[in-house]
Symmetry: C2
DNA sequence: CTCCTTTAGTGGACATAGTCAACAATTAAT
DNA sequence: ATTAATTGTTGACTATGTCCACTAAAGGAG
């Protein structure tokens, strides 16, 4: 045991706490007719387009086959289109259609509103401090995330 | 739009980031023969015992029926025992058996090790600062979590 | 080039996780 | 006393995720 017990307990407490926060947020991105996972895929395509399925798989840490099925569904629904890549004939370049972009925008707006509601009641100073704390945590842990993924 | 766009974007970015962190951690609590959800239930019983099913449902934000099935399984496996409550005949007081307490301890140790690994490479000062940032975020968002749950 | 290995995507079959509606028993409220 | 709300259970279902086998194309190594 190299670390103070209290620190670990506090961090585990924070993880439980933040699990709940994320749970509340995720639960209410819905109501678009798409599931949470589908919505996450649409959002990620919106951020990365054009992209290939495998990039989405890695980014969202999902199973290939699962992603394949979701992409099929979204394509059938007219939210995205695939263009076979000139560089690698195994892959397709994926882009949102106008209809997909519309959903993307809707999801973004809802997410933004959720964050605003989450911060409602805090002063501008407090909000700035929360943001700084998040950026700080991220800066300290983000190389570690990679390292841990690699080691597994 | 009352808030600076950048702040919301940063917070959403942090949420995506921390979703991944929690995903990595959760993926490897396993290997005890129990699923993540079952493990969470065992942990929560360990923290709260004696408790009733409904408290676990609220704490872990799970469906009643799902919890009922998990509790049945854990009981069948000899990890917990139910004593019918003298105060309310609808409910049972739930406690870990010695075997359940053993798993509880194992889960706790693993979780602690994971956090240590997550912090590995940071200086004591950095670790302290990360902890402070987490406590700060929690203190600011704490009451809000409740308020949001209620309003929904 | 040819042979071998790796990578990207797909589909079938399955396993796990979570949800919904109906119900019985009990307790709380009016 | 009657009605309403709570607790837990079960069946049926949907959503989510995993595993395996397979095809097709790239990327080497010789």
């Amino acid at each position: 045991m190299s670390l103070d017990e209290g620190i670990i307990a506090d961090i585990r407490q924070f993880n439980r706490f933040y699990t709940n926060i994320l749970g509340v947020l995720n639960k209410h991105v819905l109501d678009t007719g798409y599931t949470l996972t589908e919505a996450r895929v649409v959002l990620e395509i919106g951020f990365m387009e054009p992209c290939i399925a495998n990039q989405l798989v890695e980014k969202l840490d999902m199973d290939r086959s699962y992603m394949s099925r979701i992409i099929s569904k979204l394509q059938k629904d007219g939210l995205l289109e695939k263009e076979s890549s000139p560089l690698d004939n195994r892959t397709s370049l994926i882009r949102l259609t106008p209809k997909g972009a519309e959903l993307f925008q809707q999801l973004n707006e809802r997410s933004d509103e959720q964050i605003e509601r989450l911060l409602d009641g805090l002063s501008p100073t407090e909000i700035t401090e929360v943001r700084s704390s998040m950026l700080f945590i991220q800066s300290k842990m983000n190389r570690l995330e990679r390292a841990q993924n690699d080691s597994i």
